[in-house]
Amino acid sequence: QLDHGYALHTAATDCLSSVVSQDVPSLAERTKAVFYTSENDPANHADHHEGRHYSIPLEEVKAVFPHGLPHRFQQQIKTFNEACLMVRKPALELFAYLKSTNFAHPAVRYVIYGEKGTGKTMTLCHVVHYCATTFLLLTAHLWVKNCRELMQSSYNKERLDQPLQASSWLKNFKTSNERFLKEIKTQKKYVWGTRESTEEGRPLGEVVEQGLARVRNASDAVGVVLKEIKQQCHLGSFRLLVAVDGVNALWGRTTLKKEDKSPVSPEELTLVHNLRKMMMNDWSGGAVVTTLSQTGSVFKPSSAYLPQELLGKEGFDALDPFVPIPVPNYSPREFESCYRYYLDRKWLQHDK
């Protein structure tokens, strides 16, 4: 591994020092192999791919990550017209764990943590892409933060709904998990209003449709979907991956206020309440991968990045025992690789 790094370094220095017009084809190809790999299936990523970029075809991006990618990365995709992700050690570690999970055991929870800007969300996206084909996906991103409308819950008088976010989530859920929605059947009868109800044994897609059609009941539809999936997961017909970005938002304080200006605590939000139930490891047949994020959390100092600081006592007790996965900054090798990629894309320019 040492010579590899050395070769990379010499290649980089050669490239920088030589005039651009000469020697370009062979050097460029050689250097491209260093930061780029053509192995586009995350299932086959292994240690020797570490530090290299692989690209995700654009149609898959729309299908797998309808709402999940960080804003900057979305801009980058638009600029470069391709989505390139670097293969890094934390992601490879997670793949190893996920490959060897025993689906009869209760779901294991993984918490990705690290300082700001080290690539936690990107690691999560990598894992989500890996699981896209094999698992049923359930992704949730930063729900609690920006909320426009709050409504009193139709199901439970003490809770509050977030209809807009619930309906957008249902839409995204539909696009990413089309085929599963037809297979899973409801196990109970759900009554939405005086005239609408979903019978037992109907495919789950109907519940999603119902939520999309009647925005008032969207949050409850989300709750129903989550409950059904959880109950049926252990039967083994499908495997569930719950991917949550910014899981520390589920515990802690919100900036939302009720009509009488009293602060809203997260339990009072229906969506948060249902998601917390998913975080428990009382179901089996899947895994829970989460990241901590300081950027979305209010009332926490900006230097906090360790799990206990961001999750708080409640969150830690709820998630315990979990496997923490630290994400460090780029190593010198990864930095070179990223830098080479940007040079190749002509994003970084020489003076010449």
């Binding site: 055991h105 009382d282 206990q308 025992p321």
Partner: protein
């Protein structure tokens, strides 16, 4: 003007002395009030000359003094400093032979020098308390002291025989009365390891005294000044210590309602973490169809002990990379996660 000035400057010593001692007096009065000047005969002549020079320059009272070199230039390197500053005195730039600068510098300049520097005069200085001066003080006080007991030759022996340290301060000042209200303050210091306390008593005592206990040095400090006399304060301090000691040994009925928030450190038994871990393990065992494993067996197993230690370390010591990796290993072992090769 110049000749007049020259005449004054070139004057001999008494001339210079005259100008200095009359310096503070306002110029017009010099020749008006003969009572001010000490040498009336000489002063009249000088006064007229000065008056002439003043009238010529306008009314600004600028005395041209002959500057004698400051005393610092005549100081030898091995002089006796305690005679220069025998008592606390303000900073005199001509008496301190140090090239000190103090103050905020102007733009692209340096801090102002010590001559006429108000900043240096304002601040307290300890020029009168140099080590040789203190040695002399000690030598003078020695005649009033008794011998230190020879059996107490180390700190540990002192602490062993006299665990409580009582601190009082005496104040001397030159004034109309020898009393000083600050002299009634009494400070008692004792190490809790020297007191006979068990776990519960120690925790209760620390909760009772609050801020007066320092965790790093294990010292309890009681400062009393509520009584008018020092003896009364000392008695009160001892009384407080006695009361604290006896109260902390008692257990009240309401102490059984102590909740998790009141605990000083994290106890793993009966905590959420233990419940979660046990639940998870039971579920794992159930899924593998292993026959009923009892809770005690689970608790006594190696993996759970490992997990317990790592959680306690995390909560009590805060999070470090070390702690987190330990926790990670223990959780992996607990949940039986293997990485495929």
């Amino acid at each position: 003007m110049a000749p007049v000035g020259a005449a004054v400057v070139a004057g001999s010593g008494p001339w210079a002395v005259l100008s200095r001692c009359c310096g503070r007096v306002a110029v017009p009065r010099l020749f008006g009030g003969a009572a001010y000047s000490s040498l009336p005969a000489a002063s009249s002549g000088a006064g007229q000359q000065r008056e002439a020079s003043i009238r010529r320059r306008g009314r600004t009272p600028q005395f041209v003094r002959s500057h004698a070199p400051p005393r610092t230039e005549r100081m030898s390197v091995d002089q006796d400093w305690s005679s220069v500053y025998p008592t606390a005195a303000s900073f005199k730039p001509a008496s301190v032979p140090l090239p000190i600068r103090m103050g905020y510098p102007v733009k692209r300049g340096v801090p102002p020098p010590k001559e006429g520097n108000l900043e240096l005069i304002k601040i307290p200085n300890f020029l009168h308390l140099t080590p040789p001066a203190i040695k002399k003080h000690c030598a003078a006080l020695k005649d009033f002291c008794t011998e230190w007991p020879s059996a107490l030759d180390s700190d540990e022996k002192c602490e062993q025989h006299f665990p409580i340290e009582v601190e009082t301060v005496d104040y001397i000042s030159a004034g109309t009365s020898i009393r000083n209200p600050k002299a009634r303050v009494v400070t008692l210091r004792v190490k809790l390891s020297n007191l006979n306390l068990d776990e519960h008593a120690k925790k209760k005592l620390i909760k009772l005294v609050g801020e007066r206990y320092c965790k790093d040095t294990d010292i309890l400090t009681i400062t009393t000044d509520r009584c008018p006399l020092r003896r009364q304060n000392y008695d009160y301090g001892i009384h407080l210590l006695t009361v604290l000691y006896h109260e902390s040994w008692k257990t009240e009925m309401w102490e059984s309602e102590k909740t998790e928030e009141d605990m000083e450190e994290y106890i793993w038994e009966n905590s959420c973490s233990q419940k979660n871990a046990l639940d998870t393990l039971l579920r794992i065992k159930a899924s593998e169809n292993v026959s009923n494993v009892t809770k005690e067996e689970l608790l006594a197993s190696e993996v759970v002990k490992n997990y317990r230690n790592s959680v306690i370390a995390l909560k009590n010591e805060g999070e470090t990379e070390n702690n987190m990796s330990q926790y990670k290993e223990s959780v992996k072992k607990l949940l039986n996660i293997q990485t495929s090769p």
